[in-house]
Symmetry: C2
Subunit: 201 residues, 2 copies
């Protein structure tokens, strides 16, 4: 399943082609990782003309991978923000996030886990590694800020709760994918909700 | 760093060669995943003669990968069992496990995460996928049993606590590796200890 982070109607033809390549790379990196993903497969998945690849990404696979990881991170932050927009408390925000991830994973036939985790655990070049670090740092900071500003959690506790939530959800996504089951995500969601009830305000 | 799951003194020359190949494969799968690991690299890392590879593993890389994942799982279960053997309660058992993993990851220059996670998130063949599922199932069952028999946790709660612990530690290993820092493991360990205090006996 290809994710689109922005509407494509107002893009030029060249921008649409570039976006097709980035979408296809993001989909493949998420499903199978960096080394399993070849440029031919990216071109085939994207439907873009082969020649457009080096026109838009002269540095090849690494440049494409960086663009795909950045887009995946931004796209998922937007989806999570939308999912928690109406949450009246931290517990229901956690429930919304876990349901969003479990629905997406199940709908993909248990293939769509964390869009960055597979690449994070492989041997990768410095620019790709930098994009991975930036991705997880942005999540850590974004979740911490939300906990402080939306749910009134003191910042020092918010940073720790953000680390525990990210770790537990990341691991649950892996276990859910391995076992083809929503259960690890649901169980972790319940544990995080129990912890949320004890966070001082 | 190559892990040895058993002493090699009592092995025949052929068994030692086989073990070298499995050790090298386990090391490389853990550090960089399945698709980044080539047979030439395995042979070079192992120091075994190239010809021995197809003698011991006629089905090639998949057969080697399965043997390596099984050995990693057994080796780590033995190490964790040793680490928690003297733990007087669940909280100190969690502390011992988290310290063991953080020490190992830091000593490896932040390369040695979960021995199976990288492979679990890639596109892999059915036999390798089966070894991955068996690995995580064995951990889930083993941790649940320990919680029941050693720490008197009711089985239904033990199964949930095992899922949350495995997920959180798996995710923390990924974050610790990405950020080259023990902090995610230490923070997750503290959260699991706080949860352990509330588990009914």
């Amino acid at each position: 399943m290809t994710r689109r982070a922005q509407p494509t109607d107002d893009l030029t033809k060249g921008e649409r082609t570039r976006k097709k390549l980035v979408d296809a790379t993001a989909t493949l990196l998420r499903k199978q990782g960096y080394h399993a993903t070849g440029l031919s497969e990216i071109v085939a998945e994207s439907g873009a003309p082969r020649g457009s690849l080096y026109f838009h990404f002269p540095d090849g696979k690494d440049e494409l991978a960086v663009a795909a990881l950045v887009q995946s991170g931004e796209g998922w932050r937007a989806r999570v923000d939308t999912a928690v927009a109406d949450a009246k408390d931290l517990g229901s925000a956690i429930d919304s996030i876990v349901s969003l991830l479990a629905d997406d994973l199940e709908a993909s036939g248990w293939e769509n886990g964390c869009p960055v985790a597979a690449v994070a655990l492989e041997s990768i070049s410095k620019p790709v590694r930098k994009a991975v670090v930036a991705h997880y740092t942005a999540w850590q900071d974004g979740v911490t800020d939300s906990l402080v500003t939306r749910f009134g959690v003191p910042r020092a506790i918010a940073a720790q709760f953000a680390t525990v939530s990210l770790a537990a959800i990341e691991g649950a996504l892996l276990l859910a994918r391995v076992h083809k089951s929503r259960e690890p995500l649901i169980t972790v969601g319940r544990a995080l909700q129990a912890m949320a009830m004890m966070v001082p305000k």
